[in-house]
Each structure stands twice: as structure tokens, then as C-alpha cells.
């Protein structure tokens, strides 16, 4: 917090501005999403990768049975590996990614900024001021409905500046959306 002040003037440090109070860093947002979000992501990945595995299996047997001559030998010889590769990747995704995501996904709504951190392999920190919010949507897919979760979408005039928090408990999401909508209405300035 205090180091924010001497960072006030920007862009002068180049890489190693290690002097003084140390480089400024964003602290993680305060709130985690609901633990049930792990289940949500796991089901999503399972469905997606299950489909991919099925397709791979189909392609492998089809190519193996057809016995085309005009296929290059190196391809027919190796197409049998395809389902295994896809299956292994899918297994890894289903087991690792949801937990990893849960550790990364966080959100916080301060007096005038919506601050989120999302992603897993590649992470994104997003700061959207309430005064620039145009619409706030809540959404529930069928998996989310089963688990009692909701996704809240905060839209500004720019796609880059629009954030999405998934995996919130329904009541939290509803309350948050209403609250944000009211405050955005009050604070709105028209910079779009």
C-alpha cells in the first residue's frame, strides 16, 4: 500500500528497479470462489475430453480398419497412439486443472473497483472500475444449476475490460450483481 506512492510516477524503472521499497505487486483479491466450482470445472473438462477421447478412438479404429494404401506408412503405424495421447491429456486436465484453477480464481469488489484474478496456466488480473461498468449479467449453465453456482459478467464498453467471475454461490452472485448495478448507475461517467 505504501509502496504505491513512490510508484506513482510510472514507467521510469526498467526491469530491475529493485531499489527502495521493492517492486510494486498486486495482492491477490480477497475472496475465493466456491469450492463447488472445482466440481463444476471437473465435470466440464470431463465432458469435453470424454468427447475428444471418443472422437480419437473413432478415428483410430476407422483409419486402422480402412487399410488405405495411399496413407503414408508413418501415419497408419502411429494412429493407434492417438486415443492414448488424448486420454492421458484429458486425465491430466480433469485432475489437475480444476484444483489449480480453484487456487488461482479470486475476486474482490472494493468501493469502486471490481478486481479479479482468473486462469491457471496463464493468469489474468483484471481491474474494472465500477464507474465504467455498462451491464452486469448473471448466468447459470445446467451444471452450475445442479451445483447451485452462478457466473457473473461485468461488461464495459471494451471487451478487454469486461470481466467474468464464475463459480460463485447463487445468492452471492445475485447480491453482487444487484449491488454493482446500483453502484454503477450512481457512479457512471460516460468515458465509455
Amino acid at each position: 500500500m505504501r509502496c504505491g506512492h513512490d510508484l506513482g510516477d510510472e514507467g521510469d524503472g526498467d526491469g530491475g528497479d529493485g531499489g527502495g521499497a521493492g517492486p510494486p505487486r498486486l495482492r491477490p483479491p480477497e475472496n475465493r470462489v466456491s469450492p463447488r466450482a472445482v466440481a463444476h470445472w471437473a465435470i466440464e473438462y470431463l465432458l469435453l475430453w470424454g468427447l475428444a477421447f471418443g472422437l480419437a478412438l473413432g478415428v483410430a479404429t476407422w483409419v486402422g480398419d480402412s487399410g488405405w494404401d495411399d496413407m503414408p506408412g508413418w501415419l497408419t503405424g502411429r494412429v493407434g497412439w492417438l486415443p492414448y495421447v488424448v486420454g492421458a491429456a484429458g486425465l491430466l486436465m480433469v485432475t489437475v486443472a480444476p484444483v489449480w484453477r480453484y487456487r488461482v480464481h479470486r475476486w474482490e469488489v472494493s468501493a469502486d473497483v471490481v478486481y479479479t484474478r482468473t486462469g491457471w496456466f496463464s493468469r489474468e488480473w483484471l481491474l474494472v472500475p465500477v464507474s465504467r461498468i455498462q451491464t452486469v449479467d448473471t448466468e447459470q449453465g445446467w451444471i452450475e444449476r445442479m451445483l447451485g453456482l452462478a457466473t457473473i459478467e461485468v461488461n464495459t464498453a471494451s471487451h478487454t475490460g469486461s470481466s467474468e467471475v464464475s463459480g460463485l454461490p447463487v445468492d452471492v452472485a445475485t447480491r453482487l450483481a444487484e449491488d454493482l448495478a446500483h453502484r454503477a448507475h450512481d457512479l457512471r461517467d460516460d468515458a465509455t
Partner: protein, 556 residues
């Protein structure tokens, strides 16, 4: 939950405060500038143009009409310049509209009729052509008779009653631009076409042909400009010798091929329709081409090579002849074109920044292209153009007059970013080479691998071009090599920040900062900044949003 549409509200403060100061969106109109004041007084100043513009025209206070002043809340402003009698009075397009509309069909039909006459005398085909011609003309006359437009205080309505009735109503406070263009037939008849653009939610409307005078009046009225002779100041104008820069940009180099292609296609279709093209003839031509001596082919190739730049200059000149940017009240107006003269008005209060783009050839020649970043502008790549090709100092001078001085010099990004740029550049050729090797095609692999050399150079240049800077009012970021872009945005135009760090970036201590802007592409990035720089740049521009979330290290 839809809060409110961002564009529905005419924004009374053209220079938004970066901080989130609560500000009533609908403000009563500020004291009107005395309407009788001489134009020179009302002319917007050079840099803070917004101030006088602000006072002059919140949604169109008309000359000498007290109604317009009291009620100018963006919807209810009562009257229209040119007299209240114009309000609600249905108007037709110019009587010559059908001539303009029918000219293209006329040419096609006359050509078809003439060939019909040549081939088959007064055959049935010819009669059909005549009938078609008559129908075409009748349609255009009927269209003209049934199409009217009505100007109201708060909207313009376009009514069409030819087949069924349709009324298109465009709210005047949503109108973002009024483009006037004149094709050669328009020009001969002293007419112009008016395109009304009201963004995504207002739709578009076209008046095919009105008199030039009426076109100017409509633009003035619809963009809420008052006074019959608007003050006009030229900000920039193309010089003759700049047209020679055309071959530097790749797009215009290819135009000869496009032209030749469409010409050949037309000829072929025409010939085919008339039965002139038979299989034997096509084969004959093919044999002739193969039989040509090598010297002739080489000569032809050289001719094409010479023709390419020449043609590109000609085409460029046709499109951009006498490219002029001038300022009129609250708008920037860009005019261009030799045969079809096109003018695009860009509202200043919707301007968020500018973009300077160039490619390596243009860089070598010191040439750049300037474009405007406008909120909610459709077809921005063409319509937002402020200079199609100009020496860099000229483009920067114009940028300075439009948004303010281009900040500089740019801060370079840390050396760790260099490796990432190079790795990303060589990834494609090396990956393809590896695939080819796996597939047992060593020669193909070698071919791909050979591309890795130039790719390294490209990556190095991409790193060299990375940069960011802010001068306290404007943020500028630059990236790209084959198409390098430097974007300058006002701090107030930033609507959010996004910082992205992949696993690789985290290991190198790098981060990509996106400034979200509600104009242009919606966001502009400074790739691979040092993490601390990214955060402090954002914190410096909008301290109120970022500093509450800062903490002393360590983060994770």
C-alpha cells in the same frame, strides 16, 4: 440486468475525468454562447477544443431559437436550423435521384441492348432489354415518389412506401457521423449521397441523392452544428509527392492484380454469354501462351513488375486525392477521393486516441499512416483514417493537434522479453520442420528450417519495437514489426486494466498489460513488460483503481 446503454447518453464532458467522479449524465445545457456572436469567436480553440465546443453544441441549439436552448437535453431540443418550418416536413430526394440510381443499370442495359442489336438485329432479346429498361426507370421513379425523409427535433425518419410501408427512425443524439459522398454521376448533376451512421444501436440510413446544398445542410443539422457557414480550419492536407509512397504499403501493390482479375472475369463472362468463347479458342490461347518465346515472357514479367508500383500510385491517388483533414465545430472531417469524393465526420468528443501504423518499408522511408480511435465507429479501418501516408513528423503533428503531443521516447521492455519474441517467431518454422522430419521428409524439413533465420531477425525487430510511455495525460504503447502500431490514448479513455502472465512469463518476471479502451479494438497491450513496470504504469495512470490492491512483496 441491463444498466444503461453507454451510448444513449450524450456525454456532456468531452474530456472525461480519469477518476470516477460522480457526474450527472444529463446535464442541463450550459449557458448558450450568444448566438449572434461572430464565427471567429465561436471557433473552437486549438487544443482544448472541447471547451468551446461543449458550450456551443450540446445536441444542437439552433440559431436564435430559445426553445432549443432551454430544452436541449439531447432529446427534446425543439427546432432545427433553417427554420422551424423544416421540422416535421416530409421531403423527397432530389428529382434526379432516379437518374443516378439508374445510371448503372442504364449502362449495363444499353451495352446489352447494343450487343443484342449487333448479334440478332431487332430480336426478342433486344425487346426484352427495352422492357427491362422501362421497368428499371419506372421502378426508380416510383421509388423516388414514395421515399421521403422527415426531420424532427429529436430524430430523422426515412419513410419508404413502395412495397409495404417502412419507417426508419434514427434518433439524432445517436448519430455519430454523416458521410457525404459523390460518385461521377452525382457530381455531374450536382448531387451527393448522404450516409447517416448511428452506431450499432441506431442503425444506418442512406439518402441516395440530394443536392449538395441539402447534403451540407443535413450534415450540419444532424450533427447539431449551427450557423450557415461553419468555421473550418484545415489541419492537414496531402502533398503531391506523398502519393509516391503508395507502393510502400503492400495493399496497393496488389491492386493491379485485383483489377486485372476482375477485368478478365468480366470479359470472360461477357464472351461466354455471347457464345464467343469455345473450348477450342481457350485451348488455342493456352497453346499460344506456352509457345511464346522465353524472352517475351520475361519482358512481360518485367512489365508487370514496373506496372505494379505505377498502378498502385494511380489507385492510391484515385482513392486519396487531395486528402484533407479539417476541423469544423466539434468534428474532424476527412475528405478524400478523385472520382468519388468522400467525406467522413468524426465527432471529437468520441475520439479516444490515435494510432500510427507502418510496415518496415514505410519505416525505412520515414512514412506512417495515422488513424483515429473513435468510440462506436463502424468500419473504423477506413473511416477512421486521418492520413493514408505521410512523413512521420507530419503525422505526429496532426496527432498532436487531434489528441495532443505523442508522448516519447518510449521505455523499452526488459531484455527477458527479447527471448520470448524470438522464440515465438521461430516456433512456427521450427515446429513445421520437426513435423516434416517426423513424417520422414528431410528436404521439406530443411526448407522450413531455413525460414528460422529470417524469423530470428523478425523476432529481434519485434522486440526492438516494443515500448510504452506516458506523459501524464496520454498513454502510448507500441508493438509489431511487419505491421508496427503505436497507439496513443488519453488516460481518461482507459476503462479497465488487464494483466496477463503465462507460466513462462511468470518465470521470466514479465507481464503483458492491456489497457481496455472503449474504442478501436477495445484494448491495447504492452507485451512483456517487467511485472513491476506493468503494475506501476497502471497505478500511475489510475492510482485510485490500482493502489488499494498493491502490497509490499512478496506476493506469492
Amino acid at each position: 440486468m441491463n444498466l444503461r446503454d453507454g451510448d444513449a447518453v450524450p456525454d456532456p464532458a468531452p474530456k472525461p475525468v480519469p477518476d470516477s467522479a460522480p457526474e450527472p449524465a444529463l446535464e442541463p445545457a450550459p449557458e448558450p454562447v450568444p448566438e449572434s456572436a461572430p464565427e471567429s469567436v465561436r471557433e473552437p480553440g486549438l487544443v482544448p477544443a472541447s471547451v468551446s465546443e461543449h458550450a456551443g453544441s450540446p445536441a444542437g441549439s439552433p440559431a436564435g431559437s430559445p426553445v432549443g436552448v432551454t430544452a436541449s437535453n439531447g432529446h427534446g431540443d425543439g427546432a432545427v436550423p433553417g427554420g422551424p418550418s423544416d421540422v416535421g416536413h416530409a421531403q423527397r430526394l432530389h428529382p434526379f435521384t432516379f437518374v443516378v440510381g439508374a445510371v448503372r443499370e442504364l449502362i449495363a442495359l444499353i451495352a446489352a441492348g447494343a450487343t443484342g442489336l449487333l448479334v440478332g438485329g431487332m430480336s426478342t432479346a433486344f425487346h426484352f432489354t427495352l422492357v427491362g429498361l422501362a421497368f428499371g426507370l419506372a421502378f426508380h421513379v416510383a421509388d423516388w415518389m414514395t421515399f421521403t425523409y422527415v426531420l424532427y427535433g429529436d430524430r430523422i425518419e426515412l419513410r419508404r412506401a413502395l412495397i409495404g410501408r417502412s419507417v426508419k427512425s434514427i434518433p439524432r443524439d445517436r448519430i455519430r457521423g454523416v458521410d457525404i459522398s459523390a460518385s461521377p454521376p452525382h457530381r455531374i448533376l450536382g448531387l451527393a449521397a448522404v450516409d447517416i451512421d448511428a452506431g450499432a444501436d441506431g442503425g444506418e440510413g442512406t439518402l441516395n441523392a440530394v443536392s449538395r446544398h441539402e447534403a451540407d445542410r443535413l450534415r450540419r443539422v444532424l450533427l447539431a452544428r449551427d450557423a450557415p457557414a461553419p468555421p473550418r480550419r484545415v489541419l492537414a492536407r496531402m502533398r503531391r509527392r506523398w502519393y509516391v509512397y503508395a507502393p510502400l504499403s503492400g495493399a496497393y501493390l496488389l491492386t493491379p492484380f485485383a483489377l486485372a482479375g476482375s477485368l478478365l472475369g468480366t470479359l470472360y463472362n461477357l464472351g461466354d454469354d455471347l457464345g464467343l468463347i469455345t473450348r477450342e479458342r481457350v485451348e488455342g490461347v493456352g497453346h499460344d501462351l506456352v509457345g511464346l518465346p522465353t524472352a517475351l515472357v520475361v519482358a512481360l514479367a518485367i512489365l508487370v513488375l514496373i506496372a505494379m508500383p505505377v498502378m498502385s500510385v494511380i489507385v492510391f491517388t484515385l482513392f486519396n486525392w487531395d486528402f484533407t483533414v479539417h476541423e469544423r465545430d466539434g468534428s474532424l472531417v476527412a475528405e478524400r477521393g478523385l472520382l468519388t469524393r468522400r467525406s467522413v465526420s468524426l465527432e471529437r468528443r468520441r475520439l479516444r486516441g490515435v494510432e500510427l501504423a507502418d510496415n518496415p518499408f514505410e519505416r525505412a522511408a520515414g512514412v506512417t499512416r495515422l488513424g483515429a480511435l473513435i468510440t462506436g465507429l463502424g468500419d473504423a479501418a477506413h473511416r477512421g483514417r486521418l492520413l493514408p501516408a505521410a512523413p512521420r513528423p507530419v503525422a505526429e503533428a496532426l496527432a498532436a493537434r487531434v489528441v495532443g503531443t505523442v508522448p516519447g521516447p518510449l521505455t523499452r521492455h526488459p531484455p527477458a522479453a527479447r527471448g520470448r519474441r524470438v522464440a515465438r517467431a521461430v516456433a512456427l518454422p521450427l515446429g513445421l520442420a520437426a513435423l516434416a522430419l517426423v513424417a520422414g521428409q528431410p528436404w521439406v524439413a530443411a526448407g522450413f528450417a531455413a525460414f528460422a533465420g529470417p524469423a530470428v531477425l523478425l523476432g529481434l525487430d519485434r522486440y526492438r519495437q516494443l515500448g510504452h510511455v506516458t506523459d501524464g495525460e496520454r498513454l502510448s504503447v507500441r508493438s509489431g514489426s511487419l505491421r508496427r502500431r503505436q497507439v496513443v490514448v488519453e488516460h481518461g479513455a482507459v476503462v479497465g486494466w488487464r494483466i496477463r502472465r503465462t507460466l513462462f512469463q511468470r518465470r521470466l518476471g514479465l507481464a503483458t498489460l492491456f489497457a481496455a479502451v472503449g474504442a478501436g479494438e477495445g484494448g491495447y497491450s504492452a507485451a512483456d513488460m517487467s511485472e513491476a513496470d506493468a503494475v506501476s504504469l497502471a497505478a500511475g495512470i489510475t492510482p485510485a483503481w490500482v493502489t488499494p490492491f498493491l502490497e509490499p512483496p512478496p506476493d506469492r
